[in-house]
Amino acid sequence: MHIPENYLSPATCAVMTAVMVPVWVHAVKKVNTEIPKKDVPMIGVGAAFSFLGMMFNVPLPGGTTGHAVGGTLIALLLGPNAACLAVTVALLIQALLFGDGGILSFGANCFNMAFVLPYFGYFIYRLIAGKSEKKSRQLLGAAVGSYAGINLAAFCAAIEFGIQPYLFHDAAGKALYCPYTLNVSIPAMMIGHLTLFGIAEIVYTVAVYSYVKTIAVNKVSGNAGKMVSENGIVDNSQNIKKKPIFILMAVLIALVPIGLLAQGTAWGEWGSDEIMKITGLSYVPAKLGTGWSLSSVFPDYTMAGIPDAIAYIMSAIVGVAIMIIVFKVASSLIKGKTDYQVK
């Protein structure tokens, strides 16, 4: 679902970024006031899970691949505002360091995966799970929520792709950016997400969520099942045990090369070198071929001369570490929130 550089017109990118600005502002404000300072690094852990989730590529017959995003998962654990920030940072690091998703299209990617996905997924979860203490209800909510979230996000991405040829084409009618119209882009995106990728997201969300809930939460306070209070904020009275979470993360990092089994590129994520061969198009859209792009340190999570699997693991390690660093730094910038309770 990562929209690469030059698939969207700069105008579209600008609009999407403009939409995201108030969302980011709102999320930062909320997180700032509602999440205790010491829990902010946990958002980094959330971002790391999202980042890892996106590295597990699932192949779809026909040569394309997709992946889970994990946005709903973070929303369930830390609230949708924290999830928005977490996914944003994950996307930023992917774009800057690994060339996954464009810099200009960063706003659009965030709109789909950091805004639509977690907030909608969380909304659906609340609708189903409500205030229920029952674990099955909660897991059902997590499943449906994450599925709905990723699909709405994919739909948004499809529309962003699809409207490009209508709006931006040259005199001969050749598209300047993404060449596919809505009637192609929507089914192309949705078929994958309604089936395999949606299921991947469900599996990833429910598996991690139930693991974290049952193992990683101290049962001292009695209602261990409920980590998120009414307004979607981490319940302060509960201590999240960190060790099992990091063990899980290490396991996931070790497993990331599985994502390499899926050969091929996700729909809409081709490089300009691949596009003619894969799509059977008779031309390379003008701006798509010649547009600006950043050369990243580890393009597509690989390094020249290094076995892909090792490079992939290295990418995962570096990405996860950087994400935790980012949020730890952020938490140190937040003032106050010392615990003034007398022990």
């Binding site: 003032k335 106050g336 010392t338 615990d339 003034y340 007398v342």
Partner: protein, 221 residues
């Protein structure tokens, strides 16, 4: 006049003040008491606008004291003139090269005339009995002498509120007696006085009210 509302402060996450609230009226004399490390000095630094509460608000004469209001130069200067603060460690409070310069620093900053400055420092010198120290370097004085000079250089600024952190520590009996009496007199002149001290006699002599802070950094009530 001084309004502290639910103030919390921590040094790198270690609380030094917890939910401290009190009110001090003009012309009151309040003694702060509590075991070592309970946060008296920290509270005084806060009341002097040197540090700012993490939680809660501090209002002085109806004006909120925050990092922002204190960054206004004129306001800060006015505030520092109004509130005189005598450090617990007077070593750190003296920075001029002679005692007389030390005494004149404040009034000179305030733009008083030379005669006025002379008069003020002369009066203060007389009050404190430090005539023989005038030409000396402050950092070479004895512990008690330093304290007296520190008190003197605040008095020449004629503040309305006097905040004293352990004023009697290290003073000899005569100076102690003198300072107690002086503070008593000072109290009668419409000034507000805040003192942190472990001295019982001084407390009995002066305090209109005692605010106790306990080892958990809470104000006892």
């Amino acid at each position: 006049m001084i309004d502290c509302n639910d103030i919390c402060y921590a040094y790198e996450g270690v609380p030094a003040l917890r939910h401290v609230s009190f009110n001090i009226e003009e012309k009151e004399c309040v003694v702060f008491r509590g075991p070592n490390g309970c946060g008296k000095s920290t509270l005084f630094k806060l009341l002097n606008g040197l540090i700012f509460p993490e939680v809660g608000t501090y209002t002085f004469q109806g004006e909120l004291i925050t990092e922002k209001t204190m960054s206004d130069q004129l306001f800060a200067k006015r505030f520092h003139q109004t509130v005189g603060y005598i450090f617990q460690n007077s070593d750190m409070q003296l920075f001029c090269s002679t005692v007389i310069e030390e005494l004149e620093f404040g009034p000179r900053q305030m733009g008083l005339t030379d005669e006025e400055i002379d008069k003020r420092s002369k009066d203060v010198v007389e009050m404190l009995g430090i005539e023989n120290l005038l030409g000396r370097a402050p950092y070479h004085l004895s512990g008690g002498e330093k304290k007296k000079v520190a008190i003197g250089c605040i008095l020449t600024m004629n503040p309305k509120v006097l905040i004293l952190d352990e004023p009697l520590a290290g003073l000899d009996d005569r100076s102690k007696k003198w300072l107690s009496e002086f503070l008593l007199l000072f109290k009668k002149t419409d000034k507000t006085i805040l003192i942190a001290t472990h001295d019982r006699e001084l407390t009995e002599l002066l305090a209109d009210r005692v605010i106790e802070i306990d080892e958990n950094h809470l104000v006892k009530s």
